[in-house]
Amino acid sequence: MGMTAAPPAPRARGAAAAALWQLGVVAAAAALVLLLARNAAQNMASRNITFGFDFLSHPAGFDIPFHLLGWQLTDSYGWALVVCAVNSLLAAVMSIALASALGLLLALMRLSGNPLAGGTARGIVELVRNTPQLLQIIFVYYVFLAALPPPRQSLVLGVGFFLNVRGLLIPTPALPGLMWLGGAVLVLLSVLGRMARRAERPAGAWLAPGLLLVWLAAGLALAEWDVPRLQGFNFTGGMRLPPELIALWLGISVYTSAFISESIRAAILAIPHGQTEAAYSIGLSRGRTMSLVILPQALRLLVPPLTSQYLNIIKSTTLGAAIGYPDVLQIFGRTVLNQSGRAVEVMALIMALFLAINLPTSALMNAWNRRLMQQGR
């Protein structure tokens, strides 16, 4: 499958014919583009629409109901794009984490050798894969979350976590600035550590991630936690994740986990059984065979399908527009577009945003795939 060799050009067809063909295609494409552009220009002229991105600096004047970054009515359209892009990114990061965990759980259930667990996992995967993702998101939103209790009877999910019909309340840490700086340094170190590992120095490679864990633990212990508290009819403190975000998060995660579990299973099953037998014959235990022999090889096979699932998650966050989560499509593609009337510019910006994430990743994946093929597996 990896061979990209195109069929050889027949002897009879010369370079002239090839050039002529391409010229024809280019001419046809150019004619089409010109025609469309002419129509667009005429239509825009007749409706008095001008083209330009200057509107990005105009004040927006609308509210964004949920935002991680600061937002005021007087902020510009350009800042609105940044704010809702961060909202989309938050949904994507949360979904990637949960979908991976659920996918791994389902894959382990199927590989456990226990027919009851395997059958259940298979049933869940088939059910999830064969129903629309939008339906799952809407189901969570209108059926599960609408049935939650009001704030005063919130479900308590561990210390400081409350779930009610208005969303999920979580405690937020207020970290000293020095801690953030230290964290950034450690992330840098762990990247260097990975390079060190490639240079066959495993000791250095484990140091930075270890320090990172210590930093995380210290940070969590030392941070001043802002815990949500019930005051009157509502909560104060902490952070409120709105039900739209929860529905989008759960909906995307459950849907994608079914596909991820199949990828994980396929990658593990693709490792020849001889590898397991060889590992046993040199005296490795079952667990060590899995962690030292099977998983490292399976992970390599898993990278391309997993990446494409993660890209799907990023694209799926736009479904938030169906339930009113303030993501890029909802805020920029709806509110800003309707308010400013700049359809072409708004749509171009949204598409460019997704292409900026997807095209480089897809190119990287193709390169990675080629490398895998060259290594023979």
Binding site: N43, N114, T131, L329, G333, L337, M347, L359
Partner: protein
């Protein structure tokens, strides 16, 4: 034989401590989830009634689904003309099954599916000719719209996808770059964004005075979108055909294009069919997105029905029913794909 299988099953369930623990955990989970669900869905459910008041508060109100069933399947298609929808669906199935399973003349069936069925289907659904009463596109809705939309998109996207697949494999650099760029761009953007774009921007690119409805706009952008995914599947199929096939055809005196069209493409499409079916399953599920841009497909009709005063508060029933319909349709399609995949696998081994 029987005892050996029973022993294997027992070993799987209780063969080790971890397996036994897992079995018990699963049984506990079932005991927790299944009884309340069965009570709600079957035992305490109400099947007959004229409004929500007739339903028991403990169980599902399936009377709502029964009352709205024609709406969910046909939308606002005039009741007297609904036989035309049934006939169109029967026609589609009657041609689609041999297209997938016929051992001979598969290509003829495929041409019939991609050319004959759309024309006849359009005549049946739109009417206005041969004495059929005209039906507006605005009256199309429910599951019928999901099926019609998926099929229409497939009819446009498959030929375009085949062209793009050849383009991406071409030795001519401009063709190759153009096709690759087209494919990667459409695969890089979210479908809902594409639908929004089609809705807002398509009219802008049309000549002045020419206007197309929401359904046509959705078909255009969905076709472009799906063609990129189909192109990748067909490209995989083209790669699986040994180069000797094209070389042998040309050695017999066939022109390059003829060899590709008559020798390589049929073999490639045969191998691609399971992949194409997977894309059709995704496409069918994704047709629910058009409800966000205002088309009344099954999800859209369910959403509308939930606002009905006589049946308020029945979101659970409505969405469970919609999920069930999609599950049955998609599972049937997926299983068909798996059967075909196995058949090609067997053919290749032979």
């Amino acid at each position: 034989m029987g005892t050996a299988r029973a022993r294997a099953l027992l070993a799987g369930l209780f063969g080790s401590w971890t397996r036994a623990a897992l079995t018990l955990a699963m049984l506990g989970l079932f005991a927790l989830v299944l009884p309340p669900f069965l009570h709600w869905a079957l035992l305490d459910a109400t099947w007959d009634g004229l409004s929500r008041k007739a339903c028991s508060p403990d169980g599902a109100c399936w009377a709502f689904i029964r009352a709205r069933l024609p709406l969910f399947f046909y939308g606002h298609f005039p009741p007297a003309e609904r036989w035309r929808v049934d006939l169109a669906l029967a026609l589609l199935l009657a041609v689609a099954v041999p297209t997938l399973f016929a051992r001979h003349r598969q290509g003829v069936w495929m041409l019939l599916l991609l050319l004959g069925v759309p024309v006849l289907g359009l005549v049946l659904l739109l009417g206005g000719v041969f004495g059929l009463a005209p039906v507006g596109v605005g009256d199309w809705g429910g599951l019928m719209l999901n099926v019609a939309l998926s099929f229409a998109v497939l009819v446009f996207a498959l030929p375009l996808g085949v062209l793009l697949a050849f383009g991406r494999r071409s030795t001519l650099p401009i063709l190759r770059w153009g096709s690759t760029g087209f494919i990667e761009i459409w695969r890089g953007v979210p479908l809902l964004g594409v639908l929004f774009m089609g809705l807002v921007m398509l009219p802008m690119f049309l000549p002045d005075g020419m206007n197309v409805g929401t359904l046509v706009r959705a078909i255009v952008v969905l076709s472009l979108f799906e063609s990129a995914y189909l192109a990748e599947v067909v490209r995989g199929g083209l790669q699986s055909v040994p180069q000797g096939q094209a070389e042998a055809a040309m050695a017999l005196g066939m022109h390059h294009a003829k060899a590709q069209l008559l020798v390589v493409l049929p073999q490639a499409l045969r191998v691609s069919i399971p992949g194409i079916i997977n894309i059709v399953v995704d496409l069918f599920k994704d047709t629910t997105l058009v409800s966000i841009v205002g088309l009344a497909e099954l999800m859209g009709v369910v959403n509308q029905s939930l606002k009905d005063q006589a049946w308020l508060g029945l979101a659970r029933e409505g969405y469970v029913f919609a999920a069930l319909v999609f599950f049955i349709a998609c599972l049937a399609l997926s299983l068909t794909g798996q059967v075909l995949e196995r058949r090609f696998g067997a053919a290749r081994r032979r």
